[in-house]
Subunit: 252 residues, 2 copies
């Protein structure tokens, strides 16, 4: 039975997609079956795995409206144990269309619960907002992993995110737990990075992953080749960081 | 009569807020009256100007529901000619509440049109999505300035953004024009930065601002002091870049 983990943070550009894609790939090369679900209308996770999101025939948008059809939309990737439930721009429309549907926060759970038995891990890449799509992601998940940049605005957004997780636990998904906080784009030459890291570690203690993702340009280059970083440049810092994160994540 | 400009890009973390705050400040020190409107529930622009968004009594959320009260919500800042219409977390709720209201895309325009005569420029900081709040921003604006990181995912998001601007021009605001593309967080030591810059300049030509905002840690430090960068460290690259941008923006 799959563990379902949502990658969520309403702050934009903090490394949700980069973490979803590279953590999924690092778990999959360890012979565990992983499904990556792209819940963001930007479809960045979809293109980062080499799929042309504009050419996708059926995506998560259709799956949310007809959950029983989801299995047929799942695509293979270059990594044998890694599959993708792709996104499409039309997912933007889903935000408005879902609002007046019954069980609007549980559509994604209806898609994923029947798929749990076929995978070991399901990762959900969420968009940068606390709207209906992210609420669907948090309602379908067992745990949430929060990527955070070591920047000032990251601290500002924290209380809003924790509030939302609490509201979801009280009203939509009592079993949801905070799996951990992941520091991303860390640059240990910058005082700003160190200061914010200290604040986050003081506030969250053990819930901060030991693994810290360093700023590394290879992580930015890999998606333009449609590959996770471990297929693009396995020896680089970025690839090593995500392999270490996968180790820590699996032994949580 | 104020020119209204929206800072928009659904890609997260590209420098919308940093540009909104520092462009507004750089125009205001030139003795022009500027109103910064924080349309993002994250309220980053509000805290970057030293205002505690959790302590704000009335914010854009209330203004969208009762436009005639907006004038009383405007706050002064450390720069004489710069004022702020603050945001608050409760703006997240507005996305859902506005959906079933009449003229739901024009609520912000109803707030700002009566205020135009009191300012020379109004800048709107939009959230990282193409939802109802950003549609309100694009419907109220005369022009849109698009900050873009020189990263692969920036290119991916472009067609979606241009589609949205076109839809707004056709259905909501025929006068909306694309003022320009601003390259942000540029690092000329990185091949990735240079490659993406070339692609954007080939695609957009003259509509890319000559001024390029370099990656500069002072831009990340300034918000933690509640100040625009020109009050935090006027001599740094970041401050110089935004002063040059203001020059270019005003002479467009
Ligand atoms: N550790 C890193 N080092 C260098 N660049 C990185 C790193 N992590 C992510 N990036 C780059 O930074 C940008 C933002 O990362 P990413 O798109 O993964 O964030 P996100 O949180 O998914 O953004 P959004 O909020 O738009 O969904 C991307 O261009 C990505 O390639
Ligand atoms: N030129 C720059 N050099 C260094 N850091 C920068 C620069 N511009 C912005 N930053 C930092 O990068 C992060 C992202 O910038 P910012 O928050 O302005 O983007 P945004 O597009 O408003 O994000 P969101 O999509 O969440 O609204 C912030 O922590 C900011 O301080
Ligand atoms: Mg993303
Ligand atoms: Mg912002």
């Amino acid at each position: 039975m799959a563990q379902i983990t949502a990658l969520a943070n309403q702050k934009g550009g903090v490394g949700k997609t980069t973490t979803a894609v590279n953590l999924a790939a690092s778990i999959a090369i360890d012979e565990k079956k992983v499904l990556l679900v792209d819940l963001d209308p930007q479809a960045n996770a979809t293109s980062a795995l080499g799929v042309d999101h504009q050419a996708v025939e059926a995506s998560l948008y259709e799956a949310l409206l007809e959950p029983e059809k989801a299995r047929g939309m799942i695509l293979p990737t270059e990594i044998e144990c890694l599959s993708l439930l792709p996104s499409h721009m039309n997912l933007v429309g889903a935000q408005v269309e879902l609002v007046n549907l019954p069980e609007r926060e549980f559509r994604l759970r209806q898609v994923l619960d029947p798929l749990r038995k076929d995978w070991d891990h399901i990762l959900i890449d969420c968009p940068p907002s606390l709207g209906l799509l992210t609420l669907n992601g948090l309602s379908a998940a067992d745990g949430v992993l929060v990527p955070m940049q070591t920047e000032f605005f990251a601290l500002e957004g924290l209380s809003q995110l924790l509030n939302t997780i609490e509201l979801v636990q009280q009203n939509l998904n009592p079993l949801l737990k905070l799996r951990g906080i992941l520091l991303t784009m860390y640059d240990n030459r910058l005082r700003l990075s160190k200061n914010v890291r200290e604040e986050i570690e003081t506030y969250f203690g053990k819930r901060v992953y030991q693994t810290i993702i360093q700023r590394n340009v290879k992580l930015g280059e890999a998606p333009s080749h449609g590959k996770p970083v471990l297929l693009y440049d396995a020896g680089c810092t970025g690839a090593q960081n995500y392999i270490a994160l996968a180790e820590e994540f699996l032994h949580d």
